[in-house]
């Protein structure tokens, strides 16, 4: 039954492609999804049909995507690294021996040592915590602020929408990196500033500058959901605006935001490294990939001790890539044309 329907769908798609024209293609796509709909309702016994929502469908697709598995494994490794660095290394990243500075990788120091004689491997492992923490918190911050503003703007419309959208545009016009530099330069860290405050400053800067893109996305998504009959039906059955937003608008409008947030997480990690490299993001004694890269790129070190730069950079790139891959995989899974 399933095979037969799938073949029909495929054949129809082929035919319309032969006819050409994007309209025909779109029609075939609709037909194909119609057929899969029939498959879901007709195929198999009615009793005990496994419920399939947008999310279960997406999960179903994700499980078949190698990109997802690669990124998921990498992300899990990085998260474990951030939570329990002791699992990966027994060495103390702060136990440094100036006498053993700039050693090349060896069985004792797998990634070599840096200019202070600290173990690069241990520092790279411990550095994951800051990067992942900044990435996750900044993503949560932008997603929460952006979604809230976008929801209200799209749901309410009118002057409130205009006000929120224009406010967003003002922040959107500030380049992320430049804005980050200005904000962090204005509120510099003192020697005794606690680690978490240093991290939160970077997070706050990224959230303040990053929310408008999420707000725009959420707003357009809400505008797409609002004209649906189920919103009208909910109103006709006496639902309050808050209930309509939480039960009907938000769950149907949040998929794009989640996809973009996953991709953004990667870029926030990269920007944290950039800011740390410039000496205004995370600073010593905090350990982060950005700080390590900054240390390693001092005059002449790139040539004399390239391992100092190589390993933190490699980890940084892998982490950024993993989150971007995850976002891509989620995007494909949520794409309704694939169902």
């Amino acid at each position: 039954m399933t095979d037969q329907l799938n073949t029909t769908a495929r054949r129809t798609t082929g035919e319309s492609e032969a006819i050409g024209g994007s309209g025909a293609e779109a029609g075939a796509a609709t037909l194909a999804s119609d057929l899969s709909g029939i498959d879901a309702t007709v195929g198999g016994p009615v009793v005990g049909t496994r419920p399939r929502s947008l999310w279960t469908d997406a999960w179903h697709d994700l499980r078949r995507d190698p990109l997802f598995w690669i990124s998921a494994v990498l992300i899990v490794v990085f998260i474990v690294m951030a939570l329990f660095p002791g699992v990966f290394t027994g060495k103390d990243p702060r136990a440094c021996d100036l006498a053993a500075a700039r050693h090349l990788p060896s069985p004792v120091h797998w990634f070599g040592t840096d200019i202070q004689g600290c173990d690069v491997y241990a520092r790279t492992i411990y550095g994951a915590r800051s990067s992942i923490l900044v990435g996750i918190l900044a993503t949560m911050g932008t997603a929460i602020i952006g979604s809230a503003f976008g929801l209200v703007a799209g749901f309410r419309g009118g002057w409130l929408d205009a006000l929120l959208s224009r406010t967003g545009d003002i922040f959107y016009a500030i380049p992320l990196l430049l804005g980050g530099i200005i904000i962090l330069y204005t509120f510099p860290n003192q020697v005794g500033t606690p680690y978490i405050v240093v991290v939160l400053k970077v997070v706050a800067a990224l959230a303040i500058l990053g929310w408008p893109s999420i707000a725009r996305l959420m707003r357009s998504s809400v505008l797409q959901v609002m004209p649906n009959d189920y919103i009208q039906a909910a109103k006709a059955l006496g639902a309050r605006p808050g209930r309509i937003i939480l039960s009907h608008v938000l769950p149907n409008a949040m998929a794009p935001v989640m996809v973009v947030s996953a991709i953004n997480l990667g870029s926030y990690i990269a920007i944290e490294a950039t800011l740390s490299y410039l000496g205004i993001g995370l600073q010593e004694p905090a350990i982060s990939w950005g700080v390590s890269i900054s240390d390693a790129s001092g005059l002449g070190y790139v040539r004399s001790a390239p391992h100092m730069l190589l390993f933190p950079s490699l980890f940084l790139s892998l982490a950024v890539l993993a989150f971007i891959f995850l976002g891509e995989a989620a995007q494909n899974a949520f794409d309704p044309k694939r169902h």
């Binding site: 709909g37 929502s53 999310w55 189920y230 039906a233 909910a234 109103k235 009907h248």
Partner: protein, 343 residues
């Protein structure tokens, strides 16, 4: 919580649950003011079924939305009239009270049941939500009630299917679920806006039968909005024919089908294909409905009417008057129409 679980205390006073009086609605658009409803008056009693019949744009759905208070303002504005539910004018009611009328006292179902159901939640959850939000029930009680309701609207294997999502149901089943949500709180009035338009003919009949049975069980008043004369013939008590935002004829089903009193109704009935008249060209009403921003002077139907005279073109629409006992028509030439030569 207690606020949610109590029902707004409104009871019918004289057997009439809904009494709409001289309702006017207009849409203020960039192209001018479209007069969508121009003085609609009717009342609905306990257990009564009123069918509102009309072509697209005649104001059927706008009437329903105005009663429910869910018109989008702007562009739509209610410019006059009353909607009395159990003696209370809903148009004057505050929005927070009105929300308790919707669903609890007056409920509505829509044409396309797939898009009327939220795609991301199982249907059982959506029905249960009615009980949780309006009655303050806990999750498991509400879920049990939802399954009972699904059985009441005759969904087979209701318990198992409560966990399914809307797209896993056929069109008829979805409409049943929508009906289940609408009758969940035992409303006194159910407005069905073209409930069977998106369904095929056999399923249409099943849905109509279901609505009729549910009405007999609960005694709710039913307003059926449709453009299909065939759908309502068996279930409706009264039919109101709408044209350009006015009722042009309003009477019981039998007399209306037997001998219409308004030229527009005549046109509608003559354009139904008949089994005993094979091989002839099907009758169609000439012309097109006028633009609502620019209604013709006098009777809105006069440019398309074969009975029209100069009187029909004098300013002011013909009033809806009682032409026979319990039969209303808005035409200057009712006598002529009733005694016309039959085709």
């Amino acid at each position: 919580m207690s606020r949610k679980s109590t029902r707004l205390d409104l009871r019918p006073t004289d057997g009439k649950v809904l009494d709409v009086n001289d309702l006017h609605v207009e849409f203020r658009t960039r192209d001018g003011v479209a007069k969508a409803i121009n003085g609609v008056t009717f009342s609905l009693s306990h257990s009564e079924t009123l069918a509102i019949l009309g072509e697209s744009g005649s104001g059927k759905s706008v009437t329903a939305q105005a009663i429910m208070g869910i018109l989008d303002t702007p562009p739509a504005y209610v410019t006059g009239g009353q909607v009395n539910y159990c003696g209370t004018d809903l148009l004057k009611m505050e929005e927070k009270d009105m929300r308790r009328v919707r669903g609890d006292h007056i409920a509505m179902i829509f044409q396309d049941a797939l898009s009327s159901l939220n795609p991301v939640f199982p249907v059982g959850w959506q029905i249960a939500e009615m009980f949780r939000v309006h009655r303050g029930m806990n999750r498991s009680d509400a879920q049990a009630e939802a399954v009972k309701l699904m059985e009441r609207v005759r969904i087979p294997a209701a318990k198992e299917r409560a966990g399914n999502y809307p797209h896993q149901f056929s069109g008829g089943m979805r409409q049943r679920i929508m009906i289940a949500m609408a009758i969940a709180l035992n409303p006194r009035v159910l407005i069905a806006d073209e409930p069977t338009t998106a369904l095929d003919v056999t399923v249409q009949a099943q849905i109509m039968t279901l609505l009729k049975e549910l009405q007999e069980e609960s005694g709710m008043g039913l307003i059926l909005i449709t453009h299909d004369l065939g759908v309502v013939a068996d279930v409706a008590d009264d039919i109101a024919v709408m044209y350009c935002g006015r009722f042009v004829e309003h009477c019981d089903v039998h007399r209306l089908y037997a001998n219409p009193a308004h030229p527009y109704t005549v046109g509608l009935i003559d354009s139904i294909p008949r089994l005993d008249q094979k091989g002839e060209q099907l009758y169609a009403i000439g012309g097109l409905p006028p633009s609502l921003t620019n209604l013709p002077t006098g009777c809105s139907f006069n440019p398309r009417c074969r009975f029209a005279t100069d009187k029909c073109r004098t300013p002011g629409a013909p009033p809806l008057i009682e032409v026979e006992d319990g039969r209303f028509a808005a035409c200057y030439h009712t006598e002529e129409v009733l005694n016309r030569e039959r085709v």
